[in-house]
Symmetry: C2
Subunit: 155 residues, 2 copies
């Protein structure tokens, strides 16, 4: 049995579902996350171990203003969708999204098997995300961040 | 052939050696790194794919003042050494080191096979590192960071 700062991810609960409003939440499909870095007490770096079932999506296709993001595929294969089109990533391949780069991205599992990957990113106050394909935006509010339509109406 | 933001790590040169002064540099042994996040243009998040041969070390045992660090073992096994002692981490296990936690850490490969892991961390201006086992420190200077003895004499 490992003790912190070491951790066996299998000892963490896999969280399902997402914070997106519908119809985006359902679109994510069969997706489970283990929040590894949070479990180790990290505040500035997020690292999640994600299992993405057939048909699942990593997120709504998006880009961040201030957060650097990086993904590393551990098992199976996923399709990376960006502004330029699609690429298939197999185990051992990766992708990196610099903060402020307007190249929106997400993974889709178009295979018949679950895929596993690590997703990591910096936690930066004031970070925003934009979603070019969908009527979705993030608004800063008095009570924190809220999802909204592109015209500002809250979900 | 993948195109950015996707990357096949096998297409990157594996960098060997370290910036430590001797005798610390040689102590690292058989260690090669591929700087994945840097190759994708990330500035605030570092992600390296590291191959550590038998007898190799990830670093001099240290802790950081401002950098969050996280490691995920991909192949083989490594021994994590912290203030509390040793634990063996196999493939699929991980460890996280919150900024400012004075629990110094490093990996040693005590096995007979190469180990592979991902090491990641936040790039934070003004970050310092301390090395409780060794006569080593990092000094801020007019010309940037320099390695020094604990009494301040430069290496």
């Amino acid at each position: 049995m490992l003790k912190l700062p070491a951790l066996d991810p299998a000892t963490l609960e896999e969280k399902r579902g997402s914070l997106y409003p519908e119809p985006f939440k359902s679109r994510m499909g069969d997706r489970g996350k283990r929040r590894l870095a949070q479990a180790c007490g990290l505040k500035n770096l997020g690292v999640n171990l994600v299992t993405l079932g057939p048909g699942g999506q990593s997120s709504v296709r998006h880009w961040h203003t201030l957060e650097d993001e990086f993904v590393y595929v551990l098992e199976g294969e996923v399709v990376l969708v960006t502004n330029e089109g699609e690429q298939t990533l197999k185990a051992g391949m990766c992708a990196g999204y610099p903060a402020g780069s307007r190249n929106a991205h997400h993974f889709i599992n178009r295979s018949q098997k679950p895929a596993k990957y690590l997703e990591m990113g910096t936690n930066v106050p004031g970070d925003m995300a934009f979603y070019p394909d969908d009527d979705l935006s993030i608004q800063e509010t008095e009570d924190g961040i809220a999802y909204a339509h592109k015209d500002g109406r809250r979900y």
